[in-house]
Subunit: 199 residues, 2 copies
DNA sequence: TTTATAAATGAATATTTATTCATTTATTTG
DNA sequence: CAAATAAATGAATAAATATTCATTTATAAA
C-alpha cells in the first residue's frame, strides 16, 4: 500500500536502478571519458535494457546533468562535514582540507566525471556558476585566515587555489600508479601546503 | 621545382592546412570538450571541406592522436627551454617552473586538450606512458634538490606533483575569470610553492 | 598552352548511436 | 485469482556523425 494505490498505480519504480545507472556511468567515464560512452553501454553496465534507461532519464543530456548535480551535492556535503565557522581558523582549515582529500580519494570516479563535465557540451554555464557559489564558505575561511594574520597577505583566490590544487594531482597520481595513500603522506602533503600559505 | 617534380607529382599539399586543422580542433575542444566535437565541425572551423580533412588524417582517431603528439612535443620543448642540469639547483628549478607556467598560459588550449585526452578512448596507455617518460629530467631535478638538502626529505613524486599542481589550477582560474596574470602574481605563486618545498 | 597529377570539394553513403515503441513482465489492490 | 497498470525489454527507427567518392580545381613541368 502506498500513496498511489487508491488510483491503482502499480509496479513502482525500482529507485535503486538510478544508482545502478549512475555507478555504471561513473565507471565508464573513468575508463574511457565522456567522449567514449554510449547509452547502450551504460545500459549494459547497469544490467538493464536500453529502453529502461529512458524510463529514468529522458535523454543522455539529462542523465549526465542529474549525475553531475548529485556528484556536486555529495562533494559539497563532504567538503564541509564537521566544519563549523566557530572553530579556530587552523582547525577549520585542516578539517576542510582533509575533507577535500577524502572526497578525491573515496569518490575518485566522481571527481574524474566532474572534471570531464566542465569542458563538455552537457553542462551549462549556469550549472558551473552554481558550483562556484557552493564553495563560498571556503572563500570566507581564507579571508578570515588573512584577517587573523595566519595566512600570507596574497590574493584570496590564489591562496584558495594553491591550497586545494595539490590534492587533485596527488590523488590522481596515486590512483594511476596504484600507490596507497597513507595517513603519513596525507600529513606530509598538508604540511607542504601549510608551509606555503602560513604568514 | 621540388624533389617530386621529375616524377611529375604536382599540386603539393598545403602543409599549412595541418596547422589550421589542429588550431580548429583545439579551439573546439576548449569550447565544448572532446565529447562535443565532430569531423564536420572541425572542417568548418578550419575553413576546408570535410573530405579534405581525410586527405590529411585518415580518421578522427588519427587526427586526435597526432594532435596529442604534437602538443606533448611542444610542451616538453617549452618545459626544458634554457634549462641546463649544470645550473645551480635553485636556478634550474625556477627556470623549469616558469616554463611550465608559460606553457599553461600561452598554450592554454593545448593544456585543456591534453587533459581531456587523458581520459578518452583516443589515447592509448602506451602514449600515456611515453608522456611520463618525457618529464624524467624534472624527476631528476627534484632528486638532486633533496640530495643537496635544498628540499624537504619527502617522496619525490609528492614534491614533484606539489611543485606543479598550483600552476594548472591557477592558470585555469585566471582564464575563466578573465583575470590577467601579472609578473607579480607569478612570483607570489612561485613563493607559495617554494616556501612549501624548501628544506 | 597542354598535360598529368594530386588536392580540394561536398553530396552521398556507411556507420554508429540515441531514442522510440509494441510487447512482455511484475506488482498490488480488490 | 483477476484486473489494472506501469516497469522492463530489446528490436526497430530516427538522428547524428564518420567516411567515401565522383567530380572539379589548381599546380608545375614540358
Amino acid at each position: 500500500m502506498n500513496i498511489y494505490s487508491f488510483i491503482c498505480f502499480v509496479k513502482p519504480r525500482d529507485e535503486h536502478k538510478i544508482d545502478q545507472i549512475f555507478q555504471a556511468t561513473l565507471i565508464l567515464v573513468k575508463q574511457k571519458g565522456l567522449a567514449g560512452i554510449t547509452m547502450s553501454e551504460i545500459a549494459v553496465a547497469a544490467k538493464i535494457a536500453t529502453g529502461t534507461l529512458y524510463i529514468y532519464f529522458e535523454s543522455k543530456e539529462k542523465l549526465i546533468n542529474e549525475l553531475f548535480t548529485q556528484c556536486r551535492k555529495s562533494s559539497v556535503d563532504i567538503y564541509f562535514k564537521d566544519y563549523e565557522s566557530s572553530q579556530p581558523f587552523a582547525v577549520g582549515l585542516k578539517r576542510i582540507w582533509f575533507n577535500l582529500l577524502e572526497f578525491r580519494m573515496n569518490h575518485f570516479k566522481e571527481s574524474v566525471f566532474m572534471d570531464q563535465c566542465y569542458h563538455s557540451p552537457y553542462i551549462t554555464e549556469t550549472t558551473k556558476d552554481l558550483t562556484k557559489k557552493m564553495i563560498q564558505p571556503l572563500y570566507k575561511l581564507v579571508e578570515r585566515g588573512k584577517a587573523e594574520k595566519e595566512l600570507k597577505e596574497l590574493d584570496t583566490f590564489m591562496l584558495l587555489i594553491f591550497m586545494v590544487s595539490g590534492i587533485n594531482e596527488y590523488v590522481k597520481h596515486s590512483v594511476y600508479s596504484e600507490k596507497k595513500i597513507t595517513k603519513a603522506s596525507m600529513e606530509d602533503l598538508y604540511n607542504l601546503m601549510w608551509d606555503g600559505i602560513k604568514a
